[in-house]
């Protein structure tokens, strides 16, 4: 689980059933598959209608896929981006009373929370659990490009090529951390490159 004293940093919990919901949408990506399977097996997870979408790790193989369908995963999609598109379409048809559960990388959770917010879901309708890498989505404050899966304190922006310093400032609206030009104060003076979000 990712924790931080930074206020704007999202706080993730763990996936537990919310018995007040009447329809449950569960999504997991990569290492988020394990929390999803744990949730589906949780005692008391209500027998209400639910829809489960998973993008498992490519290495999970046929046995892994069989285990997923055995615990009630309705749809297996190839990767995170296609899962997000499916989620978006699925939520379009959902009614009030729905609860959303998501597990996966920070990038994935950020994207899920953004889609949920676009559908008008508020905090008390969403549960998230962080799993696997702490890689960040980094929004370039100069060209607005979003750089996915950043594991280092510095990143070359895919949009404008500037070397960005990844700040601890998280924007819920953009579902991303802010990246600012690393040597803005003193040209050429950049800190050493480090892997900080493994």
């Amino acid at each position: 689980m990712t924790t931080s004293a930074i206020k704007s940093r999202p706080i993730y919990g763990s996936l537990v059933p919310d018995p007040t919901g009447r329809h449950h949408v569960v999504v997991g990506e990569g290492p988020g598959t394990a929390p999803v399977m744990r949730l589906l097996a949780a005692p008391g997870f209500p027998e209400h209608p639910r829809h489960v979408l998973v993008a498992p790790e490519p290495a999970s193989g046929p046995a892994g896929l069989a285990a997923l369908s055995a615990c009630g995963v309705a749809e297996i999609v190839p990767d995170g981006p296609s899962l997000l598109r499916r989620l978006d379409a699925l939520l379009d048809g959902c009614r009030m009373g729905t609860r959303l559960y998501a597990a996966g990388s920070e990038s994935f959770l950020g994207a899920v929370v953004k889609i949920a917010a676009e559908h008008g879901l508020l905090d008390d309708e969403c549960r998230t659990e962080h799993a696997g890498s702490t890689a960040r989505r980094v929004h370039c404050t100069h060209c607005r490009q979003v750089n996915e899966h950043v594991t280092t304190n510095l990143v070359a922006c895919a949009g404008c090529g500037r070397t960005l310093f990844v700040r601890d400032h998280y924007s819920r609206r953009l579902a991303a951390f802010m990246g600012v030009q690393a040597d803005a104060e003193q040209p050429g003076a950049t800190p050493a490159l480090q892997e900080v979000f493994p």
Partner: protein, 320 residues
Amino acid sequence: MTPAATIPVVVREVRPVTPLIRRFTLAREDGLPLPAFSAGAHVVVVMPGAARTLRNPYSLMGTSADLSTYDIAVRLSETSRGGSRFMHEAVAPGSKLAITPPVNLFPLDKLARRHLLLCGGVGITPVSAHVRELVHGGVPFEVHCGARSIEHATLALELRAIAPDAVAIHLDTPGPTMDVEAILAEQPLGTHLYVCGPGGMIENVIATARAAGWPESHIHWERFTAPPAGKPFEVTLSRSGKRITVPPEMSLLEAIEAAGVDAPFLCRGGACGQCETTVLALDGTLLHHDVYLSADQKAAGDRIMPCVSRADCRTLVLDR
């Protein structure tokens, strides 16, 4: 808010709306524009009653587009402690009153993807303002108004004329009445629910919404509890060094005000929390009538909402 902050107004027009409801149009005495407000806001009308000053909250029905006047609707209450009776019997065009600046405890939620408004009886007044705001916005909305019969549905008919596709009217006679469960079952994600009406209706709608899985963040309601009458009791106000008796027909807040002590308030209906007062000493029981304090806070007995709550006590000392 204290009496010093009130705005002197003059009644421009009084119109009967239904057998029980009258609409009052108020303008500033000095002719200046009234303060801007957002849909759902209310003012407290200060009425110079014969025996004592009366203060009742009423929702504003119009929009900020025209601030030369405010419109309020007052239902004559069978159990009136004087306020609605005063408005119906003693107020005519030209009468002078005072109002507090508007406060909004029942706004439309800006994050909503859709608004669902349910109202019953005179609870339609804030919804009248909501609808007038919503017809100018891009967010879809749906309104259900309950009324006893067609003669009691004048305000609902007015709203239907403004938004014919969005407003449904449900009459007790001849029926059928509002099917709250069916309405709540089919609402798309991101819908916010607003309910205003008699206490029983509000409780029923909230309970039905919760049972259908609606989270608290999407449920909004407004209820102005009229202060219930009760047995008289004595209170010591420690800060102002006064000892007062609260008569049966007067609320504790009114009795504090009548003693010349300024006390804060916004809703005067036990909903906003503004009037919360610390109990310094108590020999007896607090009779909580507000919907603001939690059950635990009420049981603790260390605070009271004087706008609606009373006490059955030998001693009550308040930090006021």
